[in-house]
């Protein structure tokens, strides 16, 4: 039988790849894991390996751009299809209803390369059970890396044999499961292997699952229920009129709880609520934030900066700066430079823990938190210590734009050594930022407010920003963190120090 090789999901923000080079020709015999082609995304080039041994049949030509999940080529597994079913008798089939014929072929599914910087993934959920009959492309598991969650489609049709258990962490290339290949789906006949089985079986997930009939669509809309919240009982999981009529907007489960809520007071306002499934990105964010709170000794130190010197400098030169470099002079470059200088003096703040060792970094890769429509992302300014003000400003603009457009690659978001977050843009006066692991510290910027401060015994009005530094007390001591923040403050209040390094 032919295995369809699809474009693997190579990263969160990558939706298509270009075939840079076929390393094998149409009709070539290829070995398992042999590199057969080079693919290019807008960020990186990576290699496509054969997912089984057999004869290569090229579907997409060199130079073609192919969306994630599309078939690029097929591999005809030679011999296997014609071999008698050796393992048939020893294969217990758990689904009593039908006995798909084992072909003797076993597809070993390994962790795909999901991005350049990702070395391991965790099996978060098995959606199919050991011994289940799975169809090619059925989503069988949810897998997550430290950046994102993705779905794992079955690479063959057959009986699932789970190797890696839920919550197990595997390196790229690690064995996840085996699929004992069966010939054809149980229900459909003859040559329909190229077409999905069109289910006499309403449990089957098809492309039409969750599609409401015209009458059902109207009823659901009027009830304010999304079709994704309704389990369709029609052919192929379609939502029938009856399904829609029976659908309830509030799940019955929560009704018991509502006894504890205060009694409803009759009022004019509507009291509707709605439930939405958390996206995998949101789930990942949620899990990681909680784990940081649990697994680090995080605390926050505060200080305040008189922004007048920086603001004066900025207003004096911002036009010239803009004219010369084509990018505006913002505060971020001052903060990044001040932070880099301070990090040099207090290397622990720029370090991270790896098991029993502490990794000190000679470079400053500064992660900057950017709010995007899909959630918070933290792209990295590399070697910020060696960049000039204008280089930092243009990098900030570039990363923020890509973030807003959802175009940031995983590489661009991986590997910072220190983070800066600016809650001030939303008007935050003071906050305690959460660490971005495995980093050990994060600087929180806030809004600039004119406050009465005492200078040389006199009360004067100055533009003041509060600064917060959250740090991991496991490797950063109070003396270092507080001194670090004081250094940042000093350099911002007297930018000349930035030049002189004093």
């Amino acid at each position: 039988m032919a295995l369809q090789v699809k474009v693997p999901a190579v990263g969160e923000s990558i939706s298509e790849v270009t075939i840079a080079n076929w390393l094998k020709k149409d009709g070539d015999t290829v070995q398992l894991d042999e590199v057969i082609a080079e693919l290019e995304s807008d960020k990186a080039t990576f290699e496509l390996t054969a997912q089984s041994a057999g004869v290569l049949k090229i579907v997409k030509q060199q130079g073609e751009t192919v969306p994630i999940g599309e078939v690029i080529c097929e591999i005809e597994s030679n011999g296997q299809a014609t071999q008698p079913a050796k393992t048939q008798s020893t294969t217990p089939v758990s689904t009593g209803q039908s006995t798909p014929k084992a072909t003797g072929g076993v597809k070993e599914m390994k962790v795909p390369a999901v991005g350049e910087s990702i070395t391991e993934v965790t099996i978060s959920t098995w959606l199919k059970k050991d011994g289940d009959v799975v169809q090619i492309d059925d989503i069988i598991a949810e897998v997550e890396s430290d950046k994102a969650t993705f779905e794992l489609p079955a690479e063959a049709t057959g009986i699932l044999r789970i190797v890696a258990k839920e919550k197990e962490t595997l390196p790229i290339g690690g064995l996840i499961c085996k699929i004992e290949i069966t010939d054809g789906a149980p229900v459909s006949s003859a040559k329909s292997s190229s077409t999905p089985a069109t289910s006499n079986n309403s449990g089957d997930k098809t492309y039409a699952a969750g599609h409401p009939s015209p009458a059902a669509a109207k009823i659901l809309d009027e009830k304010g229920i999304q079709s994704s919240q309704v389990q369709g009982t029609g052919v192929g999981g379609r939502i029938t009129k009856d399904d829609a009529q029976k659908a309830q907007s509030t799940p019955a489960k929560t009704e018991n709880k509502s006894a504890a809520t205060p009694p409803v007071i009759a009022s004019g306002g509507t009291r509707g609520e709605r439930r939405e499934k958390m996206t995998s990105l949101r789930k990942t964010i949620a899990k990681r934030l909680v784990s940081v709170k649990n697994e680090t000794a995080m605390l926050t130190t505060f200080n305040e900066v008189d922004m007048k010197p920086v603001m004066d400098l900025r207003s004096r030169y911002k036009d010239q700066f803009k004219e010369k470099y084509g990018v505006g002079l913002g505060f971020m470059s001052f903060f990044a430079k001040a932070v880099c200088a301070a990090l040099k003096e207090f290397p622990a703040v720029n370090a991270s823990i790896d098991k029993d060792e502490v990794i000190f970094h000679d470079y400053c890769d500064i992660s900057i938190a950017v709010s995007t429509p899909r959630g918070l992302v933290v792209p990295v300014i590399r070697n910020a210590e060696s960049l000039s003000f204008n280089q930092i400003e243009s990098e900030v603009v570039r990363l923020a734009t890509r973030g807003r457009d959802g175009k940031l690659s995983i590489e661009e978001m991986t590997g910072g050594t220190f983070s800066i977050t600016n809650g001030g843009v939303f008007g935050s006066m003071l906050s305690t930022p959460i660490l971005n692991p495995p980093q050990s510290a994060i600087l929180g910027m806030h809004n600039i407010v004119e406050r009465a401060v005492v200078k040389n015994g006199e009360v004067v009005v100055r533009p003041i920003m509060y600064l917060a530094l959250s740090y991991d007390h496991r490797i950063v001591d109070g003396r270092e963190s507080v001194s670090f923040l004081v250094r940042v403050k000093e350099m911002l209040e007297d930018p000349g120090r930035l030049i002189l390094g004093v």
Binding site: S188, T195, P196, S213, P214, A217, K218, D221, E222
Partner: protein
């Protein structure tokens, strides 16, 4: 007089909207400027043209096919006066039916030209100049469309005619020149071709019924030629001149070449229709038309909060059944319901004989989208029922998604295509796959078997009877 809803225009969009409004409990009025209800569709469009199409079809059967069926009759002759009269009777029965439905649903009919005074007030001026003022909470504009004239040759309604006059001719034209090979031109052209007129079609684009799937246009072209029509595709008309009893049409190939000159006794101009809003007083409520159309949002609401518009005056295909769906849609919206219209699944139909009908994406559109698709087609020739009836022209073509097998388009040319397309709409509304339809029992012997066979062909190239 005070109403919840006032509908302006009583075509298939307007009267259906009015009935649905009444069903939902609104006090409803409908305004019509002509003497009879039903608009273009019932009076000078769908219904009368179908009446003549059937008459001409009977004639051609009597003339050409009866002998083969074993029915010997003297050579039949066309009595155009009777044909037009019967058509008139059919129209009358239908428009009377609408009048009855208005009464049954307690909808007030106001005859005259409806014109906005302000957004809640409409003045109706009847033919004798009497004015009535209606106050209304909501308004549905359903004023339809009119045939578009050629800019250099306005309708003289005697020799240079629109579809309206073509349905009222007193004689069988000797040579009818049809400008525009779209739906209306082909329908009326084929009527006159069958009752003995020489028919010449001049079309600017390179195919007939150019908005439909290319296969259908090509098939229709073959059938038209078989019928004896002359076709000049890719020709641009440069002049139309009426000289008493003769019309001269000049055209030239748009890609260069020799100009042609056609002489006929009638010239049917069927180059399209334009939205009709004359006398509606849209300026009184601040609505500006765009290319003649009334701009509306997804709920068919105009920029004025209580005024909606449906049918040919708004964007989308100019089809009676599209207007009807929109009429129901707006009425239900007004009642706080949440109806849907899948515009992609509104079928297009051409009532030539054989008929042409289509729903979903055309092959050209799928190519343009770069979508991977499969094609399955099945000819009428291979169908027992079609052979029995001697209606062997045509085919069914199914387009399905290459991976999922979901049906993406159904295109039929052949006898009963217009009725058969409903099955395609049903299948697509439920997102059926080609194999789903192929696995459903279809009665034998029927024309619908061609749909099943084409679905088998699309599923995995396994039609049975081919």
């Amino acid at each position: 007089m005070q109403y919840n809803v006032t509908v302006i225009g009583s075509g298939p969009g307007g009267y259906v909207a009015a009935i649905r409004c009444a069903q939902l409990g609104f006090k409803t009025a409908i305004i019509e400027k002509y003497d009879t209800l039903g608009g273009t569709c019932l009076n000078v469009g769908c219904i009368p043209s179908k009446a003549l199409l059937d008459s001409s079809e009977h004639f051609i059967n009597a003339k050409e096919h009866f002998a083969e069926h074993g029915i010997d009759i003297p050579s039949p002759k066309v009595n155009i006066g009777q044909m037009i009269k019967r058509k008139g009777d059919v129209v009358k029965a239908n428009v009377d039916g609408i009048a009855f439905l208005m009464k049954k649903n307690k909808i007030d009919v106001h005859k005259g030209i409806g014109s906005f005074v302000d957004k809640n007030t409409i003045k109706v001026t009847s033919a004798d100049g009497k004015e009535t003022t209606l106050t209304t909470e909501k308004v549905i504009i359903a004023t339809g469309s009119k045939p578009t004239p050629l800019p250099f040759a306005p309708f003289d309604k005697k020799r240079i005619i629109s579809s309206t006059e073509a349905l009222e001719l007193k004689e069988v034209p000797k040579h009818m020149i049809v400008i525009g090979g779209g739906v209306i031109g082909m329908e009326l052209g084929s009527v006159y071709a069958r009752i003995g007129s020489k028919v010449t079609v001049v079309e600017f684009l390179d195919s007939l019924i150019p908005t439909m799937d290319g296969t259908l246009g090509k098939e229709l072209q073959k059938i038209a030629k078989k019928m004896g029509m002359d076709l000049f595709l890719g020709h641009k008309v440069t002049a139309v001149e009426s000289k008493g009893n003769e019309v001269i049409v000049k055209a030239e190939p748009k890609n260069g070449g020799n100009a042609i000159e056609l002489k006929g006794d009638y010239c049917l101009v069927s180059i399209g229709r334009r939205p009709y809003t004359d006398g509606l007083g849209l300026d009184k409520v601040g609505i500006d038309t765009v290319k003649g159309q009334i701009p509306v949002d997804d709920h068919l609401k105009t920029k004025v909060d209580n005024i909606y518009a449906i049918g040919d005056v708004v964007r989308g295909a100019m089809l009676a059944h599209k207007a009807e769906e929109e009429g129901v849609f707006v009425a239900e919206k007004l009642a706080g319901q949440k109806p849907h219209i899948h515009y992609q699944l509104i079928p297009g139909v051409v009532y030539t004989w054989p008929e042409v009908a289509s729903v979903g994406y055309t092959e050209e559109q799928l190519k343009e989208q770069g979508r991977a698709y499969k094609v399955g087609s099945f000819p009428y020739k291979a169908l027992g029922r079609a052979r029995a009836s001697m209606d062997t022209d045509g085919l069914v073509k199914i387009l399905a998604d290459k991976q999922s097998d979901e049906i993406l388009g159904v295109h039929i040319i052949g006898a009963r295509a217009a009725d058969m397309i409903a099955a395609g709409v049903t299948a697509m509304e439920f997102r059926a796959s080609a194999e789903d339809v192929a696995r459903m029992s279809h009665a034998h012997p029927t024309y619908m078997e061609a749909v099943k066979e084409a679905c088998l062909a699309a599923t995995a190239n396994r039609a049975i009877h081919m």
